[in-house]
Amino acid sequence: ALIAPNSQQIFKLQNQVILQELGRDSSSAETSYTFETDLKINSVWSGDEDQLLEVFISGSKVDASGKARSITRIPDRPFYISLVRGQPDKVIAHTSKDQSLLNLERGIASLLQLRLDASQEEELDVSGLCRVSYNVKSSTKVEKTKRDCSLWDLRVNYNPEEALGVTQQAQETVFYELSSEGTLLHAESQENHRLNLAAKPDVGSFVKSSLILQHVSQGSEEVKQLQLGSLDKAIQSLLEWYRVFELESDVDGMISAIKEQTLEDQLKASLTELQSADVGKSSLALAYVKLIPLARITRQEQFEDLLTEHAEVLPQLVDLLGAVQTFDAHNATFGFLYKESETTSEQLDLLEKYLQSLAVATHPDRKIVEHLFGLLEQESIKKHLKLRESVIQTVATLTRQSGLDVEDPLLKEVRSYLLQGLTSKEPTLYIRALQNLQDPATIEALLEHAQTGEAPNLSVAALQALKAFPLGSFNSSHRLQFESIFYQRKRRFDSSARTLALDIILSLRPTQEQLGNFLDYLASNDRQFEIKTYVLQKLRMLAEKCPRFRALFKSELVKRRHVNNYNVLGQKGLTTVLTRQLSQAPAFNETLLSTQEVYQGILKRGSVEFLLHAGRSQASSFKLGIYTAGLGSLVGDGDSGDGNDAIPADDEFSEDEAVTAGMEISVQGAQLRPLVFFSGQTELMGHVWGGSASDSTPAYQATTLSQDNEHYIILTSGATLHWRVLGARSVDLNGKVGFSLWNRNAQTEIQQNTGSAVLGHLAVGFTYAKLVQDFSITHEPKLSLNADLDFYSGIKLCMQLQRPEQLLKQTNVRSVFLQSVDRPYAKHVRSTLSHKTAGCTFALNQKNNEMCNLIFRDL
């Protein structure tokens, strides 16, 4: 036995917790606390291998930065540890309200768990169920390693997008020294936890905790034994004043309590940053993330009061309420804004804004989804077509985010509703919703629409939806169907449908043979030279990124003399596919993926997507797409004349295609309702002569959550660690299109202003001492895209993608508190770091360079 039967042993217990900031050198000031106490352990019952220990705590103190404080409030009642076959089993403690103290008692008990026979691979202790391994060095020296403890990752919220998540690494080793009789002389636990942002691994915290139990002496008092026949009866005799607890700890809620602050107070303090003019700034994003934890514990009535009281910041408030994701916030928003048939257009706009924010949710309350889905059945909403469309998209997105079980009736209902919508008058709307739902059970229906849809835009929408699915959703039959679309085996397809099918095939890691087929395609008769250009640029881009693919690409190319020549590789399309690094360490690792698909000289479908990278994973933070259709008749550079007049042109595909243009936006993978700039020739001509399309149009102004993670960790000492990371992006996107038939030119300009903020808060400790780290990262990435098209003589298209100077600012405050003691003490260590990135214009490709030189020759 670690404690000799009938004996009294004196121990000293010491727990030191150190909090360090990642990315900093060791010269930085330390923040740590040490807790020390004396333990008097009496063995008050024993029989066979079972034992009951009585433990008194006395002489407790906490120390930080050389300031020592006695703890006078720990009661002098003992607690008890029951040992079954020599191993701690239960803690019998007084029914106190101090969760910290109870956890500490569990930690002490856990240190007594030691198996010399190394007979188990799992142990249950203060940190939950852990995998353990023993290194028995001698009869008096033993080392135990713990891994994968269940209480080392207690998640409250987490973002399933890996790149928007947090990374945790934990490790613990316990070293034991025993006497020759097998009694405990020394037990020491060393525990490390590393917590960082997945997207920025040098930001976060490193927490070290050591718990040492040192034998001091044999006690001098006689230990009175409980005269009972069994351990159970001995425990039973204590229950008048005591309760039995498991070794496994519970979270100490005190560590994460929000101190005497209300949403109302914080909102008033933030009003200057929450104005509409601040959308797109990091200051607004920062104010937003500060409000969210308070908003999540706010009741519906309080929300309603705030909505009434702060009318001037309503657009920003509804964004906030969407990020809250509670049913209270939802009810307050709909109660305040939705008046069924009587809803005004301003109220409808705000509701759509709320839904767009909600669509980025990571853990929506189920009742929200049920309410929104039920709303679709009501007659009153059918009067508000745009709102209804946004509700459909949001229901689909939230259903996916909820992670419902395959058999969940709500998932089945939503799926069924959306599939039925495919046969309605507006199938595109439901296709987009299936893109948001991403349910593998709907793949067949989408493929059916991709291949049999009468209108080109149906195929395109269906393939765009399929492209959003996780890659694991597709099987070999699906792959064949994508190939059938790309190669037009069964029928003719819109060029965008074909490029989307290609993207999916390429993301499914094509085989050597399949890659060879794509290269052979480049030498085929296909008159769609823009698609060939797309294929070639896509393959080259992948080759740039992936060395293995590059080697395969080159070897297949060299084998093909009919492809590897200036006739085939000299494609004449204007289509562009490229990726560029927007920022990298020490800023975030962010890239831009630009696809500009040209058809008959016109930008038919262009997209700019922002991807945040973390290791091998990436998350799409924002994607902007511009589409046009039917404009070829105005510009008139068909692809029929490919230099061989003896060969007739391909028939016109979908000659009656409506003249239309618009913008599609997806935020963190959630596709929003598209904006239509104009539809129909009449409306286009109205814009052309009236010049109204030339004004800058706000396309998207909103603030949404990005990082949303909250975790607890229980340390071996019983201390609780709370770790919360919230991020937000405030985006102000506007665009304009200028079109002049007289001068035969056109300009497109897109401006995106983004303010991003990440706020991290970590607290670790117990009732009498606490370490806190608060960090913030603010960043304002901006981007502008200008496209100048000149069709006065031939087609010249110059695209300029520019990134202005950017500043990333990082602040850190680490604090140590001695609290609930005489003369509380606090120390704060503050640091700031900033990193500036100079502005640049991205090089696209040589053809674009030359076209820009031509268009801007006079500048």
Partner: protein, 478 residues
Amino acid sequence: AEAEVKVEEGVLVATVDNFKQLIADNEFVLVEFYAPWCGHCKALAPEYAKAAQQLAEKESPIKLAKVDATVEGELAEQYAVRGYPTLKFFRSGSPVEYSGGRQAADIIAWVTKKTGPPAKDLTSVADAEQFLKDNEIAIIGFFKDLESEEAKTFTKVANALDSFVFGVSSNADVIAKYEAKDNGVVLFKPFDDKKSVFEGELNEENLKKFAQVQSLPLIVDFNHESASKIFGGSIKSHLLFFVSREGGHIEKYVDPLKEIAKKYRDDILFVTISSDEEDHTRIFEFFGMNKEEVPTIRLIKLEEDMAKYKPESDDLSAETIEAFLKKFLDGKLKQHLLSQELPEDWDKNPVKVLVSSNFESVALDKSKSVLVEFYAPWCGHCKQLAPIYDQLAEKYKDNEDIVIAKMDSTANELESIKISSFPTIKYFRKEDNKVIDFNLDRTLDDFVKFLDANGEVADSEPVEETEEEEEAPKKDEL
């Protein structure tokens, strides 16, 4: 029940229902997979029908069929159709890709060759003359003994080269008529010398090359029809003449080079590319050229890196071009990269102007450290930087160790440096030629700091740290 097979203009109409039976009933079927909207299919249709009818007139066992892939999608999928038109030749139900031309005569020649002996036996002078009349380009082997080793080698090559028509004769009259020697091979053609006689050791490799080289004109005009022959052969080095046919460049510059073309034909293919064709603009672009530069030449090696070469002068005389080719074959030519003309005053100003041709001698000069700005003339950030950069160059103009330079990246290409954004600023350090990216603020002060530190400047900002304490006051003793 066997589905009915319709016939349109002599062509069998194949469907999902009748296809299996059709290729079972006929030993030889050429099948065209087409789409009604496809322009190339429309161009092929009359020639295909013509070929079908001519074969029928000869009571040939070879049938021509067509499949509308947009209706018979299953067939298109089953045979992995990847473009239109796709022609596949079914021999006893087993398909091979059609690799011939698109004219009726090409089709007939190809399928006839595929179904008959690889080389037609010419038993009389009349046979031979008809053979040459039927085929524009024909290769005839003259062997007294058709069982000889040489004759068998010839037959193997005839089997391997689908796009050529081969004849063979052991008839003494035929051999005499064409003044051939025993075991001789002659290629007959309607251009250049009209006849090429094979020389050298008669083996498969040499014979294949002979066929490929001699079947092309000395100087071949690039177009859709000739492209497959230009790239299908084994010669990977092409001398390209960029000319305007309408401008009379063929007669003036190209024709005088036929002697050189003949001399180098085993190593270099001479190709003309006309700037009068709109479609050829893309090939000009591929070579970084525009149509105003004609007449001019470029050399390209069609290998992994597609290396391109440009002559130093504009002189297109036979002597100059021959010297250029000789240098290339000796491996002494430097790869051509997109480059501006080097301005005469490139080093007259504080900021030196670099182009592809002088980049290496300036930037990689080990006796100097060189800061290079890679820019685009229309880039806003580059314009913003220009006055600061000028100031910087002014400051260091008398410094013998440091050079401040710039290069227009839209007009100059470098082998080892790829620019992905403008401006990109790189420091080429003297002695070790280490390349360091400039990532500081683009201010005069930061540039000076960077240069004075020889490029070794940490780009992270210093971290400021402050510390503060709060402590309740000690209670006064009562």
